[in-house]
């Protein structure tokens, strides 16, 4: 559905995106992970047509570039910034964005009501957004991306700064949308979210894709070994292994075990293993 082909974008001497290629299939939830400055936002910007690539091409179902109105009408974008108007009510915000996508009359009213219901904001629909909590604004931000029934959603850190309840609601919603056949590109710093939601994940840094695949594939390929920690009276023993069950069985046979802990590799260890542990600004 979405195809990025050899995208390059430079800002002066800095190469933000360096020959990036990937494909996202229909109804897939695709996670784009990377540390700050990895090139995620530039990539998303090129996907939605607000940043023009120096070279390469973005197409949606073979149609491009994304500046074309037909492509834009197929995209729903929830930017990381809360791109809603505080002076307007939730209803007025969604109605306004619906109008920009050509909705009107009964259809517009029905869609506004439906998406506000989906994100759980119907009871506060007529309140001004300035009175909303951070989580409510996030959900409204998502509703604005959904109002025109786009077949593809680009969600840029949709759970940043929200409480656990709103976060859970948003994650459930994303999963539901994917089940309805909507293709979703999802960027986040929360590895647990990506593990829970994404069918495939790409980890990028310095403008390039470092690894791409399902979470189990990435963990198997880049996560390293499990660590089994056996606690005895005389101290702890740490063992790196691909077969943690064997280590545990052996330790149990030796006796004197006060406790056991298994640290299995996960997406975070994959991420740190690929992008390093040095701080990024």
């Amino acid at each position: 559905m979405l195809k990025l082909d050899s995208l390059v974008k430079r800002f002066g001497a800095v190469t933000a995106v360096d020959g990036l290629s990937l494909e996202v299939s229909r109804a897939e939830v695709f996670g784009l992970l990377g540390p700050n400055g990895a090139g995620k936002s530039t990539t998303i910007g090129m996907c939605v047509g607000v940043i023009a690539p120096d070279s390469g091409r973005v197409t949606l179902d073979g149609v491009g570039p994304p500046t074309e109105p037909r492509v834009r009408a197929s995209l729903g974008v929830a930017p990381q910034a809360l791109a809603v108007y505080d002076d307007l009510s939730g209803w007025e915000n969604i109605e306004f964005f619906g109008r920009l996508y050509g909705l009107r009359g009964r259809e517009l009213k029905a869609r506004v009501g439906a998406v506000l219901d989906i994100v759980g904001l119907t009871p506060r629909a007529n309140d001004r957004v300035q009175g909303y909590s951070g989580g409510m604004k996030r959900r409204l931000n998502l509703a604005a991306a959904l109002v025109h029934r786009p077949p593809m959603l680009l969600l840029d850190e949709p759970t940043a700064g929200v409480d656990p309840q709103s976060r859970n609601n948003i994650l459930d919603l994303v999963r539901t949308l994917a089940q309805q056949g909507i293709t979703i590109v999802y960027t986040t710093h929360y590895m647990e979210e990506a593990s829970r939601l994404c069918d495939r994940v790409a980890i990028m840094d310095h403008g390039r894709i470092l690894a791409i695949g399902t979470v189990p594939q990435l963990v198997a390929g880049h996560g390293g070994k499990s660590v089994v920690t056996v606690v005895r009276a005389q101290g702890e023993e740490r063992t790196e292994t691909d077969e943690p069950l064997h280590v545990i069985t052996r330790a149990a046979g030796e006796g004197g075990v006060l406790g056991l802990r298994i640290d299995r590799p996960d997406l975070e260890s994959v991420f740190l293993s690929l992008t390093g542990r040095s701080l990024r600004d």
Binding site: D87, L88, L100, R104
Partner: protein
């Protein structure tokens, strides 16, 4: 068009929801118009005359005639008081521009004019109103001359003055006999002329009807007003509401000029940019909302002026054209401001500075005719000046279409240039 209207309606909603913006666009100009309308006199062709207090310490006929002349003069508003200290207190409190004291002996002094005497009056002025005091000095000299004319026009007064003058010359020790003789002959001749002039026409003591020197004026200034009453504002509100309207336009400019910076910093510009609309749609939406707000503020303010404060409009059609041109011009200024504002902070600072400077040099704070010549020339770059001219042209100046053409054209040009330059300077992405 549907998307453009949606953008425009959204911006107008936001303007009305923001109480501060709504106040500075609609409320503040109205208060300004009422305030200045009241300050400048409310009604009666731009206000009454210079307020003066007169203290008559002479109580003679001469003083009474001078006071009557002052009261009859439309340039003066006279308040009579008995006590000089009370009069000076009025000046100190700003209730009057000057306290004019007519001292004891004023009437007697009128008769000594022919031999070098003078009619002395005292004037205590407010130092903060020197310009008005200067005007007042000239006015008092004019009225003083009128008293001299009266003496010369009234036969009895003139004969008494000439007789008195002759006696003083003959009694003078500094004057030689030949000069005394010549001057005595001159005074006798003047007395004879006065008696002859009085004989056929009679003498009823009315200087205006007596002929002779009663009507004599050293400088005959003919004052002619432009056309007729229709070219003067019928009340000060016709000036102050025009100024209020233009301040309202400035309010629209500052409110909408920042909106692009707000959209950029809040991330909504990104959402607008990814919608299936063009940048032209977004800009047109902004322009239309600003234009509509400008029209609304003008119509509302002037309607208030007409319905409540008696402002009368000479030509509604020309007023419509003036409103349209002013809205277009100020929308251009808004687009320029929006294009140059790279951030909210920069936009707010620039907006205040630009609006203040344009208002100051455009006569928004001090009427243009009070400004020095170079400022009046500089005012041509301010849309404030042209909007004021266009609206006044339709409200009370009675301008023809040809006379209004320049102001309408300049405002249109402001709109066009501002839109083009502002659009070219607009930054579509967030700075961070």
């Amino acid at each position: 068009m549907h998307a453009i209207l949606a953008l425009a309606v959204k911006d107008l909603r936001q303007l009305l929801r923001d109480r501060a913006n709504a106040f500075f666009t609609f409320g503040f100009p109205l208060l300004l118009a009422i305030f200045f309308g009241v300050i400048f006199g409310g009604a009666g062709g731009g206000g009454s005359g210079i307020a003066v207090v007169v203290v008559d310490q002479d109580s003679g006929d001469g003083a009474a005639r001078l006071i009557a002349d002052m009261q009859a003069d439309s340039a003066l508003t006279v308040t009579l008081m008995q006590d000089r200290a009370e009069g000076e207190a009025m000046v100190r409190r700003g209730k009057a521009t000057a306290c004019i004291v007519i001292p004891d002996g004023f009437t007697a002094a009128v008769a000594t004019i022919l031999t070098g005497g003078s009619m002395r009056i005292e004037m205590v002025v407010d130092p903060s109103r020197r310009a008005a005091a200067g005007l007042l000095t000239g006015k008092m000299n004019e009225l003083g001359f009128r008293q001299f004319g009266r003496v010369m026009g009234d036969t009895d007064s003139m004969l008494a003055a000439v007789g008195g003058a002759k006696e003083r010359v003959l009694a003078s020790e500094q004057t030689d006999p030949v000069t005394k003789g010549l001057m005595s002959m001159m005074f006798d001749s003047i007395a004879n002329v006065a008696r002859r002039a009085n004989a056929p026409a009679g003498n009823d003591g009315d200087p205006a009807g007596g002929g002779g020197l009663a009507d004599w004026r050293p400088v005959d200034v003919v004052v002619r007003e432009l056309k007729d009453e229709s070219v003067r504002p019928r009340s000060s509100y016709e000036i102050s509401f025009t100024q209020g309207v233009v301040w309202g336009l400035m309010g629209c400019v500052t409110a909408f000029g920042l909106s692009m910076a707000f959209e950029r910093s809040r991330g909504t510009l990104l959402r607008l940019s990814v919608a299936p609309i063009t940048k032209a749609h977004i800009l047109a939406g902004k322009a239309i909302s600003c234009f509509a707000a400008c029209m609304a503020v003008q119509i509302l303010l002037l309607a208030m002026g007409v319905l409540v404060f008696g402002v009368r409009v000479d030509s509604p059609m020309k007023l419509g054209a003036a409103f349209g041109a002013a809205s277009a011009g100020f929308t251009g200024v808004m687009m320029l401001l929006a294009g140059l504002s790279k951030s909210e902070g920069a936009g707010a600072g620039m907006g205040r500075a630009v609006v203040l400077v344009l208002a100051m040099i455009g006569g928004g704070t001090v009427p243009l005719f009070f400004l020095p010549q170079f400022m009046q020339t500089a005012s041509k770059i301010s849309p404030f000046t042209w909007a004021t001219l266009a609206i006044e042209g339709a409200v009370w100046r009675g301008h023809s279409w040809a006379e209004m053409g320049l102001a309408l054209g300049v405002l249109g040009a402001f709109g066009l240039v501002g839109f083009v330059v502002g659009t070219a300077c607009l930054k579509w992405t967030h700075a961070s």
